[in-house]
Amino acid sequence: MAEARAVNTGPGRVLVGLYALFALAAGARAAVQIASRFDEAPLAYLLSALAAVIYLAATLGLVRGTAGGRRLAMICCSIELAGVLTVGTFSVFDPEAFPDETVWSGYGRGYGFVPLVLPVLGLLWLRSTAAGD
């Protein structure tokens, strides 16, 4: 059985950079929204905050690269993918619920669809570095 390849080098470092940036972007956006106009769309703003936490956890998981870190990153990428698909779909069919854009609105349209691509790349990368492939 082959050793697990280091998850936090090579392409992994590109992913870590992007995840860290998105943790910052989603976190800062949520902070501004919650501080300035929480009443307008509490659900959307809480989702922004949740997205930020998940991006941060994924970043930490990828940086650590241990078995636990990999599991954390795997869980976060899965939640993200589900989140961007669910919120994306809701925001298309029920724009009223998301009057202000979040990172996941319109499948991450406001962020060049990177929020949609990132969890897929993360999962592929975790899989390709898994032991025994």
Binding site: R13, V14, L24, A28, R29, V32, A35
Partner: protein
């Protein structure tokens, strides 16, 4: 914001990003030409940030000051952080890190323009 400088930054960002991705495609790490491009780009971003700070202290206000400040700080710090990241990863993937950061600098500059005057959109 200064449209001419912003446009120049966006064009330069795209060129530097493309040049970094060429290195990555050839399985190379960044060399001195990439570092020179990134340095020029960073100086332009810092100039843009300085102009923005001068105008804000002069009393002008973008629509959402906090958001604008966040983008401005990120635009100034992103490339130095990416260069550090690139030096930690001395493979083609280090070139991808530098190229992605240059690309994101273009997006940040565009967003700075939009947040400064939403009608610009």
């Amino acid at each position: 914001m200064y449209d001419l400088l912003a446009t120049a930054i966006i064009v330069a960002s795209l060129l530097v990003a493309a040049w970094c991705f060429v290195a990555a495609a050839r399985d190379r790490w960044i060399d001195v030409t990439h570092l020179a491009g990134l340095t020029v780009l960073e100086l332009a971003l810092l100039t843009q940030a300085a102009f923005a700070v001068v105008r804000i202290t002069g009393g002008e206000r973008p629509e959402e000051l906090a958001t604008f400040a966040g983008y401005l700080a990120t635009s100034a710090l992103l490339l130095p952080a990416a260069v550090v990241g690139s030096f930690m990863e001395r493979t083609r993937w280090g070139a991808v890190i530098a190229g992605a950061a240059a690309l994101i600098s273009a997006v940040l500059t565009l967003r700075l323009q939009q947040v400064w005057s939403p009608l610009h959109g």
